[in-house]
């Protein structure tokens, strides 16, 4: 069976020849029509449409968007409500939001305005990744264009509804994408994620007010839900996995890139071997990380046992091959990994899996915010162990030690970063235990080197000198 064709909704106009990101082009292609439609609706009806659509967040956790919006009760709430667009796209392997921002910013802005109107938000922020300066400029220009057309500002389209959207450039850290870390960062502080309870964004979010944080793609989807109607949108995809999904494929495939499919209509095999043209250079597949770097890895040739609902409602065991795994939230969760942010990373047979893990662990050690103990210390430790194993300085005891360190992090931290950094370690070790054991056992063991200043302080600074000083306590 050939792979299904792409179904481009969010990416519809993106990369279309002659399509530009300015508002005139956007209006020519039917832009802001949904805003006009939505702003004539009752806000509660918009929320009802989103709930009916079954839209799940596209940022990584896949939380139902309508439910998230429903946490704020307009009858009880007396504080202002904020909406933040999380454009801090920093999960390795994910590059979809950037395309939208760069190539069709008005789609995001329209989706945001509709979402803001639905939730009675008067002030919204786009928190864009610090490393996207160009994207931030594009968004600011787009906001000004939208303001000139009275889509943003006071008395929008004569309805009396006021909305202001600000672009805020991120502080250059992965953790700024964690929603409470993002809120702290937006408030001007270090992006230390908040403890939950009590600081759930829907209750005590930005400036201790109810706050909605949605991903770029999710907000774009809202526009299309208004266009199609929630029920109609909900028919796309599979139950509980509705709509379309942008999938970013990177790594060892012939045609990496971003693709949009009806959720759950494409299998892993179809994606890699047909859509992406197979493994680069005709090599064999080794492993796939299916949902951004923190998703658990799956190994080529794996056969998964899953429970499947039968026609009569009973559950039956079923075996499926990796190639037949459907790419949606529930199917990937069923095989022990996740759809996450939609970043599919493919590794071919020539890849040294220990080096792949060392690379990921280094990333997470670098990006741990350092607020809570297990992640601050553990991520660094895992980096050191994985680096040793990968560079031939491992010992046999390192593999169980590494697993134990990862186990001591996951589920014990303030935010999901704990899982993000330990899931790769846990899954790499589980799926490729043979390779890790062999490489670790063949290693030399730790090699003692002269003390190097491990401070990331600039050379010549007092902190750097202090770190280099001979270690004499007191």
């Amino acid at each position: 069976m050939p792979a299904p064709a792409e179904m481009r909704i969010v990416l519809k106009n993106i990369d279309k020849p002659g399509y530009t990101r300015d508002i005139d082009c956007y209006l020519k292609h039917g832009g802001y029509e949904e805003l006009k439609k939505a702003i004539a609706m009752a806000p509660a009806d918009i929320i009802a449409e989103v709930k009916a659509s079954g839209l799940r967040g596209r940022g990584g956790a896949g939380f139902p968007c309508g439910v998230k919006w429903g946490f704020i009760d307009p009858k009880k709430n007396t504080k202002p409500v904020y909406l933040i667009c999380n454009a801090d796209e920093s999960e390795p392997g994910t590059f979809k939001d950037r395309q939208i921002i760069h190539k069709e910013p008005h789609q995001l802005i329209e989706g945001m305005i509709i979402s803001c109107f639905a939730n009675n938000v008067k002030l919204a922020y786009i928190y864009i990744r610090g490393e996207f300066p160009y994207g931030a400029k594009i968004l600011e220009e787009a906001i000004e264009e939208a303001r000139a057309h009275n889509f943003i500002g006071t008395n929008i389209l004569g309805t009396g509804y006021d909305l202001e959207i600000y672009v805020h450039r991120g502080a250059g850290a992965y953790i700024c994408g964690e929603e409470t870390g993002l809120i702290e960062s937006l408030e001007g502080k270090r992006a230390y994620p908040r403890i939950k309870p009590p600081y759930f964004p829907a209750v005590l979010g930005l400036y201790m007010c109810p706050t909605i944080v949605n991903n770029v793609e999710t907000l774009c989807d809202v526009k299309h839900i208004i266009k199609m109607g929630g029920a109609e949108y909900g028919k796309l995809g599979r139950p509980n996995n509705t709509g379309t999904r942008v999938i970013c494929v990177s790594g060892d495939v012939e045609k990496p890139g971003y693709y949009e499919f009806e959720t759950g209509k494409i299998t892993m095999g179809e994606l890699i071997y047909e859509v992406c043209g197979g493994i680069k250079g005709g090599k064999k597949l080794k492993a796939i990380i299916p949902g951004g770097s923190s998703a658990k890895i799956i190994r080529a040739g794996e056969v998964f046992k899953v429970k499947e609902k039968q026609a009569d409602g009973s559950m039956a065991d079923k075996e499926i091959k990796l190639e037949d795994v459907i790419l949606d939230f529930d199917s990937l969760a069923a095989i022990g990994t996740m759809a996450g942010s939609g970043g599919v990373m493919v590794m071919d047979e020539t890849r040294d899996i220990t080096r792949c893990l060392a690379n990921l662990s280094e990333f997470y050690a670098h990006e741990s915010c350092g607020q809570c103990t297990p992640c601050r210390e553990g991520a660094q430790w895992m980096k050191k162990i994985t680096r040793r194993i990968a560079t031939g300085e491992g010992r046999a005891a390192d593999v169980p030690l590494l697993k134990s360190v990862a186990d001591n992090i996951a589920g014990k931290t303030i935010c999901a970063f704990g899982e993000a950094c330990s899931w790769p370690v846990q899954s790499f070790l589980a799926k490729f235990k043979d390779e890790f054991d062999a490489k670790a056992a063949a290693g030399t063991g730790p090699v003692v080197r002269p003390v190097e200043p491990t401070m990331s302080a600039p050379k010549g600074s007092a902190a750097y000198k202090a770190a280099k000083e001979p270690v004499i306590a007191g």
């Binding site: 850290a173 270090r190 607020q371 001591n408 589920g411 014990k412 007191g474």
Partner: protein, 601 residues
């Protein structure tokens, strides 16, 4: 009523807080509603280890040491709790651990502090905290009172699995006038940061760098010189923040700890005096929610040098001709008695001190009565200062209230009268108890006209050289007695060290003087003196010295003599009402010495 208002108070709830039923380690107990799991567990006698959580600071939940297992009451489909076979609600345990500090317990919830999950979590956190810690315990000042050490014994592992290179960070960082920071020992609990921000309103501490390199630092062009900075040394669970005054001076396990009260001002912060042999090494605040909560000012804390300096009087002195020579106590009293023969009433004056204890003041007042009562001019030396709005009182005398009760406080107005009367030849004898007459404004030429000048003090001072008798007295850490703070709270001093040399406790000296001058010999011990005072002064009715306890007793403020406002008075003794007005924290303290001079043990 406490002097200081904490921004957070997780451990204390209003008395009328309703109780809820919670299950703690399998037992159902009742605890006040609104407590977090750490506090609730402690009410049930269970200790949950923690580093970052502090009952008086905001909750950040970053150390993860208090992870425990929590359970919610199981609910039936109609939202009613399911009752188990034992008649108690059933609990559904959550597989993911939660931090005790940020978990507020609700009715029917359960916590497990000793389950395998909780133990594994603690063991993991302990290991993480130690892998990059320098483990320099042998030369660390915190050793002996370090939470890393304590919890390592209780919850840690016996060996390290860490074979990598440790992260190196700045050491001996000078972050303030009185504090040194060792970043390698820091466990990033952020207590000091929150204390500076929330209590001192002096937000100068923070983290720099990221992840495993996170480094505590002071703002680049500021210093942590707040007058409450040393409290961070107390709340630092490890040896990262150390006091310049105390570090490397003494291992803490050698310190004998004595509960007492700081005498730096009229607040009377409750303190623990840490002493070894005859040397006081440090003061640390002692919890008293009615006075100082858990804190004290640096100025009070470091004020332990003046009585341990080289000029300390260690023996009584008698003037023989033009010089003073050391004497024996038993010879001194008859000599004073002899010199006092025939002197009384207007011929005698007394300079008492609001730094003296109630018992001492009672004896002084008693002697004064015998010598002629109000005709004997008496006064104290007032010490007006500026209230810092937190703990430091405008009245820098610790026991002004006591001097008012015993009728010895004339707000310093009598000092000038005493001077005039000496100059006029009316006053022949002057007794100075722990106050220096010259410093109080009676010049040496005047004092030289006296037939008898007796000074009882801990240092000779300018008056000492002129005195006929110098009685070597005791510092406040060397004696027992009671004092009354600005809020009318009666508190107790305890003896932490012995008097140096042949110096004696002031009460003993005063009682001997009393015997010599009045013949009275009915009183011997501080308890007896207090009892006598209680029988004569109704404010102490029903009290005994032992009933004061370590936390003090609030006296009936309406019955306390109020400070009199004298027109044109330079003395600013604050009214109680003024003292209890909301307080603002000043950003910077007055100049303070970094360390205090002291004689070695």
């Amino acid at each position: 009523m406490a002097f200081v208002k904490n921004a957070f108070q997780h451990d204390i709830l209003p008395a009328d807080t309703p109780l809820i039923n919670v299950q703690i380690d399998g037992e159902w107990v009742q605890v006040p509603k609104g407590l977090n799991a750490i506090e609730a567990a402690s009410r049930a006698g269970k200790f949950v280890p923690h580093y970052c959580y502090h009952p008086k600071l905001s909750i950040v939940g970053n150390c993860r040491m208090c992870l425990l297992e929590i359970g919610m009451p199981k609910m039936s489909p109609d939202r009613k709790p399911i009752i188990g076979e034992d008649g108690k609600p059933e609990i559904g345990w959550i597989p993911r651990p939660a931090i005790g500090c940020a978990t507020q317990l609700a009715d029917g919830m359960g916590i497990r502090t000793d389950s395998k999950l909780a133990k594994d979590c603690r063991e993991g956190v302990m290991e993480f905290l130690l892998i990059n810690h320098p483990l320099d315990c042998p030369i660390c000042d915190q050793a002996g009172e370090c939470k890393l050490q304590e919890y390592s014994v209780e919850y840690g592992q016996s060996e390290s699995r860490f074979v990598e290179q440790k992260v190196h960070k700045p050491k001996k960082v000078d972050i303030g006038e009185r504090i040194v920071l060792d970043d390698e020992r820091c466990i990033m609990c952020s207590r000091c940061i929150r204390f500076a921000r929330e209590f001192c309103k002096d937000d100068v501490l923070g983290f720099t760098q990221r992840g495993g390199f996170t480094t505590l630092a002071v703002h680049h062009d500021k210093r942590f010189d707040n007058n409450y900075s040393l409290n961070t040394v107390d709340i630092c669970p490890v040896g990262a923040l150390t006091s310049k005054d105390f570090r490397f001076k003494m291992r803490v396990w050698f310190l004998r700890e004595t509960p007492s009260v700081c005498t730096g001002c009229a607040t009377g912060c409750n303190v623990t005096v840490g002493a070894r042999e005859q040397t006081v090494y440090r003061l640390t605040p002692r919890e008293n929610e009615d006075v100082n909560s858990l804190w004290m000012c640096d100025q009070g804390r470091l004020n332990i040098g003046y009585f341990q300096g080289p000029d300390r009087l260690t023996e009584p002195l008698v003037r023989v001709g033009g010089s003073q020579v050391g004497a024996v106590w038993s010879n001194i009293y008859p000599q004073i008695q002899h010199k006092m023969l025939g002197l009384k009433g207007e011929q005698v004056a007394i300079l008492a001190s609001a730094r003296a204890t109630n018992e001492e003041l009672f004896v002084i007042a008693d002697v004064r009565r015998s010598l002629g009562g109000d005709t004997v001019l008496a006064d104290i030396v007032p010490r007006p200062g500026k209230s810092d709005g937190v703990l430091q009182n405008a009245d820098r005398n610790p026991n002004s209230a006591g001097t008012r009760i015993f009728g010895l406080n004339y707000k310093g107005q009598n000092i000038a009268k005493i001077k005039e009367a000496i100059d006029a030849g009316k006053i022949k004898a002057l007794f100075c108890f722990h106050e220096d007459a010259v410093e109080a404004g009676i010049p040496a030429e005047t004092l030289q006209k006296l037939d008898l000048l007796v000074l009882q003090h801990i240092v000779p001072g300018p008056t000492g050289a002129l005195a006929h008798f110098v009685l070597a007295g005791a510092a406040w850490t060397e004696k027992r007695g009671s004092m009354i703070n600005a809020a009318g709270r009666l508190q107790r001093l305890n003896k932490a060290t012995a008097c140096p040399g042949s110096a004696r406790e002031d009460l003993e000296i005063l009682l001997n003087l009393r015997t010599a001058l009045t013949g009275g010999n009915s009183l011997h011990k501080v308890e007896e003196v207090f009892k006598a005072a209680a029988s004569q002064y109704p404010i102490f009715e029903g009290l005994t010295f032992s009933r004061i306890t370590d936390l003090g007793v609030q006296l009936d403020r309406s019955k306390l003599p109020r400070p009199q406002v004298v027109k044109g008075s330079v003395v600013a003794e604050p009214d109680f009402a003024e003292e209890f007005a909301p307080r603002e924290m000043p950003v910077k303290s007055e100049g303070l010495p970094a360390t205090t001079p002291r004689i070695s043990a």
